[in-house]
Point group: C2
């Protein structure tokens, strides 16, 4: 007698996996041909196509071993060295971290997943910012972890709430996008990072610092990394990525971790996919060796600053009068908003996509608990040129008006 | 107070992860500059460097979206269609399987890992061939599964032992390399596949068919796939790979699975690494569209047949007189042997590498239980040219003699 698939799958596949809420909105938006304020992706205009093409050509023409399995289970060593030098120059690393603590991954999502697989036991508690990055929450859920949300204030997590929680719960780790966080664009002050690191020592939890937006600051230079501030304490696991500053398509990112964690990741790599393709890593390395990164990052910031300002301006004129409130972030990709008078932003989002052809992401998928942030939305300015911003904001304003008048 | 890392890791990282035994031998062999009969890799001479370079150049010059995230979570659709057509033409697919049942993965290792993550609960029993592929065993162990080994006979698993086991244990799935298996080179007869599929229905277990060596047959055409024979029963999960017939470095393989499993893999993909790089998949697809695969596979078989015959011949002259016994496989990459008079092939392997500079893989890591196959070794002929075969076999003979005389 044959069981149905639902009975064949394990607890994880049956109960702990969900689809990304963002992915569903993106799909619907594409189907409807909507203007998208939903995508958390770089602006295509900024992909260095010409330079990456040249890099790929050089790599292909070189005598690099592109076709065989790579013995470098932790990824290409030269690329790890480049990353370690770069981070050291920017004073992002503590003294103990060298290239031997850099593990190359297929997007920082792979690094986060490996850490999740190495650390979390079903029933463990992960402390997360509320709201937080949905694809991280999906991963924590996959391992059967409980998530405890800490409200995010202007200068970072609510420390009082955090302490209260720590007194009552055994917390395994704290996952944070401390710099221009997805979805709020908020950053944690260095002062608060120090306080949280003290709590981490006191209550012995780890910190996973997810830091893809660091170089996209449109005002002051961002603060220090938890990783650097933690010094010799070795309790911060750091996720860096080239997806936002070069291109996500080559799938190239990295994790900085103590030796013991590197060893576990090495074992998980073999079981998970044996090795990464050298081609992609070498293309990224060649690009990095040819670009003036400082100048390049300034260009990227200039373009995104323009996108942010244009969308902020257009929304103020078209959507704020209809009930939208939002922050103006200092960096990253996102505006985080609340819609006064809307009880279910998910329902509104569907309405806006299908009726007015404009897509925003409902905020509730960013919260660790259910029933939270029902009136919140995330709007991305990264891919939105000033012209599209004007039309998108105008449609959003109209959608809000129509939705209220239903 | 800070816990040590050993206390911070979860049960999985603490108790269920191990390094690959093969990897360790390979490392030592490289350090010692030994002739390697250890590597389970294609012969470099067979990498179609010129054609892959041309394919990469065409892909780079095309207007394909190489730099952005891919929305195709299941991998490139055109590549999935190519694979489905190819498999259908070779009569490897059952009626229900179309390109919508093809999930592209970063090596078949990623597909196997996803299946493992979707199916296995700690304490579940996985039936495996004894011996079997070590990196699969590592993955099953990672999820806390128990492994029950079924001895492998000339025509496949020992059915009587399998039935006895099934009467006593609740088995979740059977992992099999039914065609030119790693490490034995043995294949399961179609008759036996039918018997095992009947048992699978009766005892309701799934079958994971790992099939990377199918196209490397040096005698008759290999038998049917479990996947095909299973018909509408949808209980076979099939792993295919381009690693052995094109090149492993691009990391391109696939899983064929029913819709329900595809959905779970889709969710695991998002959590695991969001998406694959399009570049690698498109290069493989372009290569496939330009190569005459049938002719190409014949060339590959001719070369490997020559490698097999040369190593077999050299071993017969140099090592068999010193106590080596081995099979002559009809396909794949490997000779599987036993060393008469050696009690610990692992110890012998270290001796052979360091003293005589020749590397073979000790067999015990291929067995699901401990204390098994202590006198067995795996020898690979794939990368071993006839000249190297002569010298390697000669060194192996000398190592056996020296080892016996210690």
């Amino acid at each position: 007698m044959s069981r149905r698939w639902s009975e064949r799958f394990n607890t994880r596949a049956r109960n702990r996996l969900a689809l990304s809420a963002i992915g569903e909105v993106m799909r619907l938006a594409e189907e409807e041909g909507a203007i998208s304020l939903a995508a958390g992706e770089p602006c295509e205009e900024l992909y260095p196509s010409r330079e990456l093409t040249a890099s790929l050509k050089r790599v292909i023409a070189s005598d690099a071993q592109l076709w065989s399995y790579s013995n470098a289970r932790r990824g290409n060593r030269d690329l790890a060295e480049w990353i370690a030098r770069w981070m050291a120059r920017d004073k992002l690393l503590p003294r103990w971290a060298t290239h031997e603590n850099v593990f190359i991954t297929s997007g920082s999502q792979e690094g986060l997943h490996m850490l999740t697989e190495a650390l979390l036991e079903p029933g463990d508690t992960v402390m997360v910012e509320s709201p937080s990055y949905p694809e991280a929450l999906l991963g924590f859920r996959k391992e059967g972890a409980h998530m405890a949300g800490i409200p995010l204030l202007e200068d970072g997590p609510d420390i009082e709430k955090m302490e209260m929680l720590l007194k009552n719960l055994n917390v395994k780790c704290f996952y944070t996008g401390a710099t221009f966080q997805n979805p709020t664009g908020l950053s944690t002050s260095d002062e608060k990072k120090r306080q949280i690191l003290n709590l981490a020592k006191q209550y012995d939890f780890l910190i996973i610092e997810d830091d893809p937006y660091r170089h996209l600051s449109y005002g002051n230079t961002p603060g220090e990394t938890y990783l650097r501030i933690s010094g010799d304490d070795q309790r911060v696991l750091y996720l860096g990525s080239f997806s936002k500053v070069i291109a996500p398509g080559l799938r190239c990112a990295w994790t900085v971790a103590p030796a013991q964690v590197m060893d576990v990741m090495h074992k998980l790599r073999i079981i998970g996919n044996l090795c990464l393709p050298e081609l992609n890593q070498l293309a990224v390395l060649d690009y990095l060796e040819h670009v003036k990164m400082k100048k390049r990052l300034a260009e990227i910031r200039d373009l995104y600053r323009g996108h942010r300002d244009a969308l902020v301006d257009a929304l103020k004129r078209h959507a704020v009068p209809e009930g939208l409130e939002f922050n103006v972030p200092e960096g990253g990709f996102f505006l985080w908003g609340r819609i006064n008078g809307v009880e279910d932003a998910e329902d509104f989002s569907r309405f806006a996509i299908t009726e007015e052809k404009v897509a925003v992401v409902p905020g509730k998928g960013f919260f660790p608990g259910s029933g939270q942030g029902l009136d919140t939305i995330r709007m991305s300015f990264s891919k939105v040129t000033p012209e599209i911003a004007e039309e998108g904001a105008s449609r959003l304003g109209r959608a809000l008006r129509q939705y209220a008048a239903r």
